[in-house]
Symmetry: C2
Subunit: 237 residues, 2 copies
């Protein structure tokens, strides 16, 4: 009888080494902040040198990143920063539109004073980043804001999905954003905080729905996604 305790397990238990998680976190940040462009190749031993670990751990990290949608792995060809198609871009925001308004509503029902404080700090950091003109960082913090709401709603499962969706949103924005300024810098997040503080579920839900539509409407989803083809020829030779 090969039985085992196996604790009733929460989302993703502390399953992997700090080593792997550190690599994943660092690469996630780099991609979220657009310091690595969609389509960039990620060589295993190159990353191994950078992080001073063997390819084994790099591979684990790349597989995790693939799962989160930030990286695409092609057999025998290697890993690349993902390059969402237009269809995928649409799907990402459609899925967010299904999940987030309801989550904001739940968060409004549960938010504590401490939670509100935390959200306000997020916004401060975001504004600070914008004023320093670090738009990549600002975008990442803006994504974290949405994740924080899922955390407040105490919805681990949806939070995990949102983590993936927000990651991919970052890539979508890198590829399809129209203007390089004014990223979520609108008052939308402020208004959301107000609704959460007041426990106004209906407002929170509606504000989130509108906010997502607003972001989506600022994407330019007509062009060809493969700017790489022309870009590559322009740069390569």
């Amino acid at each position: 009888m090969t039985a085992s305790p196996s604790e009733s397990a929460y989302p993703t238990a502390p399953s992997t080494v700090p080593g792997v998680e550190a690599i994943v976190a660092e690469m996630t940040d780099a991609i979220h902040e657009h310091r690595i462009q969609p389509g960039a190749k990620l060589r295993e031993d190159e990353l191994g040198d950078i992080f001073n670990v063997s390819r084994t751990l790099v591979r684990q990290a790349l597989h995790k990143l693939e799962h989160s949608g930030l990286v695409t792995i092609q057999r025998n060809r290697g890993a690349f920063v993902a390059k969402p198609s237009i269809k995928e871009a649409r799907e990402v925001f459609e899925a967010r539109a299904l999940l987030e308004p309801q989550t904001a509503r739940a968060a409004a029902e549960r938010a504590s004073a401490q939670d509100i404080e935390c959200l306000e700090k997020h916004i401060e950091d975001e504004h600070a980043a914008i004023h320093r003109n670090e738009m990549g960082l600002a975008l990442k913090l803006s994504g974290d804001f949405h994740l924080e709401i899922a955390r407040i709603a105490d919805q681990d499962t949806i939070e995990a999905f949102l983590r993936q969706l927000i990651s991919r949103s970052s890539l979508v924005i890198a590829l399809y954003w129209r203007r390089r300024n004014a990223i979520c810098e609108s008052h939308a997040h402020h208004a959301l905080i107000d609704a959460l503080r007041d426990g106004d579920c209906n407002s929170a839900e509606e504000l989130m729905k509108g906010h997502l539509l607003d972001i989506f409407s600022q994407l330019d989803l007509r062009d060809r996604p493969d700017g790489a083809a022309s870009l590559k020829e322009a740069l390569k030779r």
Copy 2:
């Protein structure tokens, strides 16, 4: 500049070997069909012996299964078939309730005659399994039915999420189902097919919502699950 073509990539490209995928598929089936119980320990070299591969590939497979929510990995302690908590069980069905009705609606708008045929075949197989008293197989087929609807809706992103949710639903049912009979055997799936055939979006959406509530209401989410498990025989035929 390390640019690269990197095809605009769809959900999960053919990234991993047939070897790993075969292991994942076989174990997924075994867990879905309840041939391995929640909490069962999954030793790496034991699985390596069973599938005649090295631990390297087994580890890859286990990590993939962890991503899909079927397996829990604890550092230095090993992998176990996941054992969703009651909270997680609730969350899984809440998330399904957010995603599936809308997906059924979209499917109703797009379903072709061929799609309908495919769904009907699914139901036939499911009934056949029930009559042979293979309840595990029937349950798995029932899950596949829901996935098929997402495929018809042409929503790759949501389909990927649903795959995880349905996997976990299978575990939830293994742990918390009240009566061992009558799994989704209701007319719900038949009614859904009718709505899809008629292109009746509203009905499809409502039927799906009701169907999910119906399943959820048959769970007993008060007890504390604690089961031991035997492995080995369930996998290799």
